[in-house]
């Protein structure tokens, strides 16, 4: 078999792909969260950050493409592996798991996160799609508001005379255009998460993402062959801590908005 088929067509090769794409996506999730957190530094910070990203032009598109590819590989391998898994085990046991050493039940029944990776993953994918539609493509019909995020822009230049502060002063609705003016991310986010059910959906999805990561982050080390009994504890702790930190970081935004800490 060729190198490519040894990677793409074997179980272990695909696990490598899954682990590496997962690692990339984890990196994205971390950076994205750090970006989100700039909201607590006020509108200027987050809008400026967004503007900087947008100004990168082709680089941004390369990053986006890379991200898309990773998502594609991650989902493709996941579906491929899951369907193989299903085929490999078509019968379920009738006996409920009741080991003779009953205290070992928890070892034998695998962790919830591990058992449900494909489901949490697919729901996260659906959420990510919605999230893109919500804030990136700005489809007005799904934001639960009368507002159209497409119209949220800010002034970029500091013009003391007209009392305009850069990146914080909203342009009136109708003014500003895609590509020419900076997007008022701050307003978009605070308005967007002002809708309680959207925030709840968001929190739940982030929760699933973190459950997914709590297993995925440790399994990644296993798939790449870095895990040993000695490092296992450390790796599991890292996965768990990272998942909780991400959860806290992401969820702090909608909660703060709903509770009125961020206006």
């Amino acid at each position: 078999m060729s190198l490519a088929s040894n990677i793409f067509r074997t179980s272990l090769g695909r696990k490598y792909l899954m682990a590496l794409s997962g690692a990339g996506l984890f990196g994205f999730v971390v950076v994205h969260m750090l970006g989100n957190l700039t909201i607590f530094a006020g509108p200027a910070a987050i809008n400026q950050y967004a503007a900087k990203l947008h100004s990168m032009g082709p680089l941004l598109w390369i990053a986006r493409l890379g991200l898309l590819m990773m998502v594609g590989i991650h989902i493709w391998t996941a579906i491929k592996l899951a369907s193989e898994n299903k085929r490999a085990r078509q019968f379920q046991y009738e006996g409920t798991i009741e080991p003779v050493d009953i205290h070992r039940k928890n070892d034998i029944v695998s962790r919830y996160a591990a058992r449900t990776m494909i489901y949490s993953g697919l729901i996260i994918a659906a959420f990510a799609f919605y999230h893109l539609a919500h804030y990136t493509w700005k489809v007005p019909q799904i934001n639960g508001l009368d507002a159209d995020f497409e119209t949220f822009y800010v002034h970029e230049e500091d013009n003391g005379e007209k009392q305009i502060t850069a990146y914080t002063t909203a342009m009136p609705i109708g003014e500003g255009a895609e590509g020419e003016n900076a997007v008022d991310v701050y307003r978009m986010v605070t308005t967007g998460f002002g809708v309680w059910w959207i925030s709840i959906f968001y929190v739940i999805s982030i929760g699933l993402l973190c459950i997914h990561l709590s297993h995925g982050l440790s399994a990644m080390f296993q798939s790449l062959g870095f895990k040993t009994k000695a490092s296992q504890k450390l790796i599991n702790r890292f996965a768990c801590t990272a998942a909780w930190l991400l959860f806290a970081g992401y969820v702090s935004v909608p909660i703060s908005i709903l509770l009125g800490f961020v206006k």
Partner: protein, 250 residues
Amino acid sequence: MNLKLRVWRQDNAEEAGGFEEYEALDISPDMSFLEMLDVVNEDIIADGEEPIAFDSDCREGICGTCSMVINGVPHGGQQGTTACQLHMRHFSDGDTIVIEPWRATAFPVHRDLIVDRTSFERIQQAGGFISVRTGSVPDANATPVPKEDSDLAMDAAQCIGCGACVAACKNASAMLFVAAKVSHLSLMPQGQPERTRRAFSMVNQMDEEGFGNCTVTGSCEAVCPKEISLDFIARMNREYGRALLKKGCS
């Protein structure tokens, strides 16, 4: 004690199977689980019926022949114990015990609780060996093996090939088995020349047999009668990565 058994009965690979209920009466706590089945079978034969077919041979936990899922757990769930070494004192009077064969597409049922594990054979035939010809070998002490490596190789080599790992895995993955074999040979200096080739051929054969993939749930390690560690799966992944790099660079 008296027990109720729900046992999977199936005439052969083609026909559909189903559960049958049996009474196991006057069971002594000193019996092994398989001896309990022997007793039940004697009664079944006395009734002119065909006994429950199940695999067993050495009955001392080393040949890896016995294979049954007891109450949802391969080998019954006593730590580091095969079904043949499990004793009835772990059950109580009046219990209902569900007994099923290993469930995996790569392990089709031959009859009742007996499954076909020749897929394991083919994986090992694909590369689970060191190519040495009888007689054409150096003195055993000509190649020193660090004790740590040898001990670790022995940890892997303890695998008895029973297939409980596959049976326990929700994906019917054979990774723990293949990992034990790959690790054992790759840890020994004698296994180095064929290291890359072996990793590819055994993994490919494993895939071909229709085993599932590892989702690192750890059930395999928990039911393994020889308590083979999940570490070896990581080691096999590493071996495979190494093989990919070697192939990519060559």
